[in-house]
């Protein structure tokens, strides 16, 4: 799977780097000073690199944990995000990472202790307040778990801070490390979905809906809190039927009591990201849809966006309580 690994010289001896390197004995190993030398140059093509991404082992120096954008959250007033990894194993055509990063290579920050320290500091600063930490912003939280050991390393931190909540956001079925441990009441395992036809066409390399649901069922049986994320909503001429069918399928399989939260978000990209994506994938129907530009963002035409949002909200509220429903308003 991983055939090339770039390693920052400074973390070459880090135990996590050593473990990962040992896992890929046949991969070519190339040292660099800072990961940005490989990851940031402009003259790179995300689409081409996605064919065979390399892994970059790096150290996170500054700002390991950041405040989440306003409007992003599932119930807490205090929301942060952190990215132990940049880029994702999957290749979802709507993903903003394609527009944000020059490179499709995976960057893994191996100094988890730096993230953990800041998470503990934030949690300790206001022990009486509930604080949410989102881990799946710049990557899929679980997709590379067998390599990263992310869950195994971070769950103990959250076990020690009852006020700190962890959201793992994923489309992955890599749930073994969760099933192997006691469920954590302050951890939400949130799965993202789009309707089947859309997922099949634009969520390349991601497990299909059936497999995601099977993983959710296993986690539910083991006692984990689950999240459902319908973000972004994608337009299709018969989107009503498609989303109705999706919701029906999901809620037929899952126990509503184990669902912590459901969020809904529109398809929105900064204009600069959208332009880059459109150039990368000129044959992509998604980008030929009924979109408009407004205030530096590209989204569905406002009436359509409103209709989709209203329709999906009403449909979801047939299955869940309003107190569990979190419409995402980032950028709106």
């Amino acid at each position: 799977m991983i055939e090339t690994i770039y390693i920052e010289e400074a973390i070459h001896r880090h135990p996590r780097a050593q473990t990962i390197l040992a896992r890929f004995p046949k991969a070519r190993k190339i040292t660099c000073q800072r990961y940005g030398e490989v990851f940031n140059p402009k003259s790179q093509n995300f689409r081409l690199q996605k064919r065979k991404p390399a892994l970059i082992l790096a150290e996170k120096y500054k700002n390991p944990v950041l405040p989440a954008p306003p409007g992003y959250g599932v119930g807490s007033k205090h929301n942060y995000y952190f990215s132990h990894m940049l880029n994702c194993l999957y290749d979802c055509r709507y993903c903003f990472l394609q527009g944000m990063f020059q490179s499709a290579n995976y960057v893994l920050f191996v100094n988890y202790e730096t993230f953990q320290k800041q998470i503990s500091e934030i949690a300790n600063a206001t022990p009486e307040q509930e604080i949410h930490f989102f881990s799946g912003y710049d990557c899929d939280s679980l997709a590379l778990e067998p390599v990263t050991g992310f869950v195994e390393a971070f769950l103990p931190v959250f076990r020690n801070h009852a006020n700190a909540w962890l959201e793992l956001r994923t489309k992955s079925t890599q749930i073994r490390s969760l099933l192997d441990t006691e469920p954590l009441s302050n951890c939400i395992v949130a799965f993202s979905f789009t309707p089947e036809v859309i997922a099949k066409h634009i969520e390349h390399r991601a497990p299909n809906i059936q497999k995601r649901l099977e993983a959710m069922e296993k986690l539910q049986q083991a006692g984990w809190s689950l999240g459902l994320r319908f973000d972004p909503m994608i337009y299709q001429p018969d989107y009503q039927n498609q989303y109705q069918a999706l919701f029906k399928k999901i809620f037929a399989r899952l126990d509503k009591e184990s669902i912590h939260s459901v969020s809904l978000g529109s398809f929105r990209l900064p204009e600069k990201f959208f332009t880059k994506l459109d150039k990368l994938y000129p044959e992509e129907k998604l980008f030929a849809g009924p979109l408009e530009k407004s205030n530096g963002m590209v989204s569905y035409e406002s009436t359509l966006e409103h209709d989709m949002f209203t329709f999906c909200s009403e449909e979801l509220l047939k299955y869940i309580s309003p107190r569990k429903f979190y419409p995402c308003t980032v950028g709106q």
Partner: protein, 276 residues
């Protein structure tokens, strides 16, 4: 030569170029003066001369010569020294360091490489020894730095063939020998070029036939051509089997009128946005 998907091969020495010229049946382009250049169809081969300055100038020159077309395939082929790798073995560069500045580049290879890869140190003065376990050459850093300005990094590659090592010192290299070891690696060179060209095709997609037809019949300004390209791309995505019926339009229409007609057609036609 048409306007797209060029492949540019650059070698420092005529003896490195010789087997390539024969293999690809390239013809000397007599009208091209500052650098000896050969070509056939969309392939060019330039003999740059030794060193970084000559290489950098050649890359820029060739890019302009073919009209500044972006995202072409670029390949630097040449001989290099190494402490211990056997003479005649070929390596693709995965890291290039300019020994003068210390600056590094990391060529990305999102394909199965046809040979092993190695780090290259580009030096300005020929070395008599090999202080580090990397390849030593005199052009790769300049080639990479400048070609990356004209193409995406995945299409810019360096392939070096070991000509000398501790047991076979550089003083003994002859032009004949350099040609022989390049020739012995033609299969690897072919395979690499093929992979680069496949990548280039992915990001330089064909325009539909009606686009070329429109460009031949009507005159479009530069900005109108960009609009036409956008429209043709959109059309290709949402209605690939039902091209616009341009034949019905008068030949004396302006580019602007053609674009206007196409926009109305798009607005009135039912385009297929379904993924099904």
């Amino acid at each position: 030569m048409d306007n797209r998907n060029y492949t540019h091969i650059l070698t420092a020495l005529p003896c490195e170029a010789k087997p390539l010229i024969a293999h690809y049946q390239l013809k000397r382009c007599m009208a091209i003066e500052p650098f000896t250049t050969y070509g056939k169809d969309n392939v060019t081969l330039t003999v740059t001369g030794i060193g970084k300055v000559s290489m950098a100038a050649s890359v820029a020159f060739i890019h302009q010569l073919v009209g500044g077309i972006p995202n072409s395939v670029w390949l630097n082929i040449g001989i290099a020294g190494h402490q211990s790798h056997p003479v005649g073995s070929a390596f693709i560069a995965h890291k290039i360091t300019d020994a003068d500045t210390g600056r590094c580049w990391y060529p990305s290879q999102p394909f199965n490489t046809p040979c092993e890869s190695e780090e290259i140190n580009t030096v300005s003065i020929p070395l008599v020894d090999y202080p580090e376990t990397c390849l030593y050459d005199m052009e790769a850093s300049a080639f990479h730095e400048i070609a990356m300005r004209f193409s995406t990094g995945e299409l810019v590659q360096c392939l070096k063939i070991v000509s000398d090592n501790t047991a076979n010192p550089a003083e003994k290299i002859t032009p004949q020998h350099a040609s022989t070891i390049v020739e012995a690696n033609l299969q690897t060179i072919n395979a690499l070029l093929h992979k680069q060209q496949r990548l280039a095709e992915t990001i330089n997609p064909d325009q539909p036939e009606w686009y070329s037809m429109a460009c031949e019949i009507w005159r479009f300004t530069h900005s109108e051509k960009i609009q036409l390209k956008d429209i043709s791309r959109y059309w290709q995505v949402v209605s690939p089997d039902d091209p616009p019926e341009l034949e019905q339009l008068p030949k004396n229409h302006s580019g602007k009128q053609i674009l206007g007609w196409l926009k109305v057609e798009i607005a009135t036609r039912k385009m297929n946005l379904s993924f099904r």
